[in-house]
Amino acid sequence: MSTSAVAESPVVPGPETAYERPNYLNAVYGVRSWLLTRDHKRIAILYLISVTIFFALGSLFAALVRLELLTPEGDLMGPDTYNRVFTMHGVVMVFFFLIPAIPAVLGNFLVPLMIGAKDLAMPKLNLASWYVYNIGAAFTLWAIANGGVDTGWTFYTPFSTNYSNTYVISTALGVFVAGFSSIFTGLNFIVTIHRMRAPGLTWFRLPLFIWSHYATSLIIVLGTPVIAITILLVAAERLLHLGVFDPRLGGDPILFQHLFWFYSHPAVYIMILPAMGVISELVAAFARKRVFGYRFVAFASVGIAVLGFLVWGHHMFVSGQSIYAATIFSVLSMLVAVPSAIKVFNWTATLYEGSISYQTPMLYALGFIGLFTIGGLTGVMIATLGIDVHVHDTYFIVAHFHYIMVGGTIMAYMGGLHYWWPKISGKLYPGFLSRLSALLVFVGFNLTFAPQFILGYLGMPRRYWSYPPEFQVLNVLSTAGASILGVGYVLPLFYFIWSMRYGKRSGDNPWGAVGLEWDTPSPPPTENFYTTPVVTHGPYEYNREEVHNRMTTEATLG
């Protein structure tokens, strides 16, 4: 999707002077210029800082969980503390890291760039979204600082409404408020993708990253309000004694689960769909080949978004819902796997006859495909009723969704950050160190979560502070893996920050990738493009003559 406009434009200087040109980073200075910015790229940086802090916090809780589970008896902390720790791990990771991570950081930065727009359609709303996120985060942090919450991130009633003695209301409000930031982002993306595309950029010329963000935004807009009202009802039940789910009044705790999972299952797709978009970009860029079956991959995103709303009941197979309802949810859940399988096969087929280089982002992308395949297949296993009864609420489930969330979403997020970091900062990071960290993440991840599949089938229930001694060996393995994983995550933090000051200049397009975002300087100017690009063909066209000719030498990354 190169544009002749930029390639031929005489205004654009060569890469060697790129950094001196005015760009979004050096256009204005000062804290005020950041806190009041309406530039989607700066807002993406603000989000990057916020979600990184929450990722660190969530990881800290994860580390405490893994340390506690080193021994069968709860030695490190009491059960009440442990219950709060795993709850805060879930709440922080799900609502304050996984859901916003890719859309609010990479999406915010790239959606306008990829469609040739000057900004998102509603820049003020975009900034508001970041503030709203932080207000929600403040509520949650306040709850954490006061001792946290112990309901599990699922807030199941009646435990959350009538029995827990912790800070449920402020956490619930935090999640409620943060939900609005998602809605603002999703709404903004939909409007932007509909109304702000560059001339000639038809729907089927859009990069798959845009398709997946469009599908994600649909889920956000349709699903988030439902969790908002559900969580509000929980808060109202605690605060005002409005007993909508209270079994003592004849209320139905299962109704809460239906409402909760109606959002929270699609929320999984809010986390994974943008990741899939990132992987499509990475695979195309590092195989230098058009994504195989572009239309199938694009429609698979929309298919996942739609089907994702019909499968929530698979979280409730043993809750006492009708066995016929369970049957329907089971078959629908399997249907969701079809578009996911289509994506995996198409990415693999993209590699065929490609020109594959093993830069760091590609290592993450290939790791993603493998881990997502395992996560997806185990997902279909637990959608199978006969198996789910046994492994429901055990470590099998924990392993499965970590393969999707950590092996999927976080791998893609890291891959995406490494791929677009030169675009964001204009700098290169150390190649060897970054490849090492990708390897550590992959190895550490598998060592952490593969044993949990076995633990789960052995029957170890999740959210256990102490456990029967025969489960210890696998738990120790898992903790060992987590420590490797931790090192893998800490390294990038250091070399990204290092690269901002000491990194080599990347040039405009260090990967020799195509796409509108690579047709503008790195870092881009405030208005993104010097001239509005005119698009004449589809994405990922590496074989077109003119692309071939101007393909720059790949930057050396170690």
Binding site: G74, P79, D80, N83, P158, F159, Y163, P247, R248, G251, P253, R288, K289, F292, V318, S319, G320, S330, V331, M334, V338, I342, T348, Y352, E353, G354, S355, I356, S357, Y358, L366, I369, G370, T373, L377, T378, T384, L385, G386, I387, V389, H390, H392, D393, T394, L458, G459, P461, R463, Y464, W465, S466, P468, E470, V473, G512, N543, H548, M551, T553
Partner: protein, 344 residues
């Protein structure tokens, strides 16, 4: 349980083997596809590695047959697995007719188990080998989940309603009983054991323990002491009867005042005791007071055991007509004594 480092769980119920087979089959499919994808990726990585910096990939050769193939094949495999898995699931949730009734009531943080003979245990459950056992579950506070990994069964105990699960132990031994739904501070301590014994050992154990009254007997006593009997009186006719007699009621169809028909199962009887106004039997006045707060979950299960003993499904006339609980225009009790006589 002997092994310090097991990799596969004990398998000790009539259906655990079926679940394992399903799981192993699925695992094989998963491993196959994972290796397929990983193998292809590794092969392509080597075969199509970038040889000089300006090289680009070949242009795409779109192949519709491939797209359709890798949509349809996984779909077919999944539908087959779905059918298989659902079959196992239905078996897991449909107890045989001859199952013996136990109850297990969850509360923070223990399982209170009651045997049909009235024996009570906490966090331990002695059961005979080879006997199908249906466990009625209830909760006194939050949601718990009754989980016996060696039997591959699990069912949530939800406050405000009954759920049930069944199993048939096949191997004597001691197995874990877990609470699988997070329920607060001592969730991980809400664990116990299921002791599977040879039938004669079980009898000895039953005899040795403090024998309480059987559940039916306790229920009958409650039926008197709560004065249920003053209204729900067998053989009462006309104006004397203020409520329908309950003989032969269990698992029969009941016609309601609003025209609906419901099956008189555990859940219905429970609701009728706690919320008498929710479903009014056709032909009767809504005069029954609620017993909410007056009967515990345990007593509820005893009352239901008693009502069940008044008329098992087998003894009721087929088709659900003419039963005492379905009086139509005329009050039913006339037919009740007949029902009673059929009881052994």
């Amino acid at each position: 349980m002997e092994s310090q480092f097991p990799l596969f769980p004990d398998s000790a119920s009539a259906l655990s083997g079926d679940v394992d087979l399903l799981f192993i089959a699925w695992s094989a499919v998963s491993v196959f596809f994972t290796l397929l994808i990983a193998g292809l990726i590794l092969y392509f990585m080597v075969r199509y590695r970038r040889r000089h910096p300006e090289e680009v990939g070949a242009s795409e050769r779109a192949a519709m047959w491939l797209e359709i193939g890798w949509s349809v094949v996984p779909l077919a495999i999944m539908l087959a697995m779905f059918a298989w898995g659902t079959r196992v699931f239905f078996q897991l949730y449909r107890p045989p007719k001859d199952a013996v009734e136990f109850t297990a009531i969850g509360r923070q943080w223990m399982w209170k188990v009651q045997h049909p003979g009235g024996q009570r245990e906490i966090n331990t459950m002695h059961v005979p080998v080879g006997q199908p056992i249906r466990v009625t579950l209830a909760s006194e506070d939050v949601i718990h989940s009754f989980y016996i990994p060696a039997f591959r069964i699990k069912q949530d105990a939800v406050p405000g309603r009954f759920t049930s699960v069944w199993f048939q132990a096949t191997k004597p031994g001691t197995y874990h009983l877990f609470c699988a739904e997070y329920c607060g501070t001592e969730h991980s301590r809400m664990i116990g054991s299921v002791v599977v014994m040879e039938p004669q050992d079980y009898e000895t154990w039953l005899a040795g323990g403090a024998t309480g009254k059987s559940m039916v007997a306790s229920g009958a006593e409650l039926f008197q002491s709560l004065a249920c009997v003053t209204c729900h009186r067998a053989g009462a006719t006309g104006r004397i009867a203020r409520g329908p007699a309950l003989e032969g009621l269990y698992e029969r169809q009941v016609k309601l005042a609003d025209g609906r028909t419901v099956i008189a199962d555990d859940t219905y009887i429970r609701e009728s005791i706690l919320t008498p106004t929710a479903k009014i039997v056709a032909g009767w006045e809504p005069v029954m007071p609620t017993f909410q707060g007056q009967v515990s979950e345990e007593q509820l299960t005893e009352l239901i055991a008693y009502i069940r003993s008044l008329g098992p499904v087998g003894s009721a006339p087929a088709g659900g007509t003419g039963g005492p609980a379905e009086p139509g225009a005329a009050p039913a009790p006339e037919t009740a004594p007949q029902q009673n006589r059929e009881q052994p």
